[in-house]
């Protein structure tokens, strides 16, 4: 198990795939660990990519600082990992990992070939702030298991949860074993200690694909819209019938979207244009433009209000 040295702390990472292949770096969400990208690693390595995954500081097998973790530490850890790779480098992150990926893209212009922000955000809306505080309180009062109880129905669909209902304790167990409560609390506090990135988003010059689950409750469409409006070469892709944790629920589809994005960028056929698309239901299907004249921020087919 290889480690990078971030000061006195160790960051556990994994690199797979051909050394000279284009690179994809994948950044975990707050309560995740690197193994949750296994399906992505396998799919992208099979397409010739070199895939890097890692545990953020405070997660999994990386070191867990006792009291203080900052977002700057996470960006520094990500930079260390990316320094191991040869261009072209594509960076994707989910949720808190999407935020860290956005921060990296802002702080390291010119280093990336493409950016994929999944269930991401650049600022704490009142809803997200209050939800984050409530989830932290849940963690404190009920432990990691209770936090998982809150996150599972919030972030995954009935279609995924239904077959798992009799097996939920086993589903939760690996996350409970891997992530320590104090480290999760430190991570949650680093998430809530937030300086909005919105004014800096326009400095992201690389092609950017923004992925948002159709029914994402935790980070709804409006938060992704901020990214779409502010990042010049971006496109927003809505994942049908998906929630916040669509990377867990639809790995084949999402890995395919990541691959197609990188291929478009490498072939110079990517056109962001701040456009809005609807992803297919299954991997390989066509992306279709969001119907013109309708408001993609609404759940009902409301007509767009000009301006």
């Amino acid at each position: 198990m290889p480690f990078l040295a971030l000061g006195s702390y160790r960051i556990r990472y994994e690199l797979e795939g051909p050394e000279r292949g284009p690179a994809y770096v994948l950044v975990n969400g707050l309560t995740q660990y690197a193994e949750l990208w296994t399906a992505y690693r396998d799919a992208l390595v099979a397409k010739g990519f070199r895939v890097a995954t890692f545990d953020l500081l405070g997660q999994g097998a990386s070191d867990k600082p006792a009291l203080f973790i900052s977002q700057d530490d996470q960006v520094a850890a990500l930079a260390l990992l990316i320094d191991q790779l040869e261009p072209p480098i594509f960076l994707g992150g989910i949720s808190f990992g999407g935020l860290i990926a956005l921060r990296y893209a802002i702080e390291h212009p010119g280093r990336l070939a493409g950016l994929v922000a999944m269930s991401a955000f650049a600022e704490l809306s009142p809803q997200l702030l209050l939800l984050g505080n409530a989830l932290r309180t849940g963690l404190i009062l009920g432990g990691t298991s209770y936090l998982q109880d809150l996150l599972l129905p919030m972030n995954l669909s009935d279609a995924w949860l239904g077959p798992q209902l009799g097996n939920l304790e086993a589903v939760k167990r690996q996350g409970w074993l891997t992530n320590d409560l104090y480290a999760l609390q430190n991570l949650m506090e680093s998430f809530l200690d937030f300086k909005p990135l919105t004014p800096q988003l326009s400095s992201i010059g690389v092609p950017t694909m923004i992925l948002n689950g159709e029914f994402d409750f935790l980070t709804p469409r409006a938060l992704h819209e901020t990214l779409r409006i502010r990042i010049p070469d971006s496109a927003l892709v809505i994942i049908p019938r998906a929630y916040h944790a669509f990377t867990l629920e639809k790995p084949a589809l999402t890995a395919d979207l990541l691959f197609r994005f990188a291929e478009d960028v490498r072939a110079r056929t990517w056109k962001g244009n701040r456009s809005v698309w609807i992803a297919p239901d299954n991997a390989g299907g066509p992306l279709v433009p969001f119907p013109s004249g309708h408001d993609h921020l609404r759940a009902i087919p409301a007509h767009e209000v000009p301006g």
């Binding site: 198990m1 097998a61 867990k64 600082p65 006792a66 009291l67 203080f68 404190i140 009062l141 432990g143 990691t144 086993a170 167990r173 409970w176 074993l177 891997t178 320590d180 409560l181 104090y182 480290a183 609390q185």
Partner: protein, 200 residues
Amino acid sequence: MSMFLGPLDAAGRVPPGQQTRVAAFLLSCHGAMARQLALAQSWQMNPAWHAELNAQLFHEAEIVALLPRATSWTIDPELLFLLPGWETSWLPRPGDGFADRTQAMTIDVVAFGHALHSVVRPAALLPQDAAAQDPFALALRRIEFESGRVMQPQIMFLKSADLLPFRSAVNAAVEGRHFQVRKLWREMLAGIGVDRCTSQ
């Protein structure tokens, strides 16, 4: 080496040798914590923190009272050598960089508590098929669950505005106690065939 206690017996219970070693470690560190908390209350003038230290004292007392009855004990001669080393490690060790010695002593007590309640995860040692109603398994789960609650006021204290001028010293004190507790916990577990190095 396994990540978990065991192999379990036919009834899903942890072997008595492992129960004895784990319980002895927990009684040693939580007993020391209880003694230090009792002493710390005598010099703690802040009423809010006096209340928190008092609450934590009773939590430690619960653990110390629960484990002797919940454990299937067996003779473990190695404890004659292990226990003095553990007890010496838990002794107060106020750090440098604080306003005064009383503050340094209080920080050390809280840092020791934070390390115990965060690094030592006894329930995570139980294999998935451990008997749910076994007294030892119940005790380990209860200790870990309650530790999470006790940890919160410790974190609030250690990150409080009053201590911001001493952030580096506080961090060093807590990281030092984490390192010490983690090392002894892993060594104790390695002695009974459990490897937690990659999981914590």
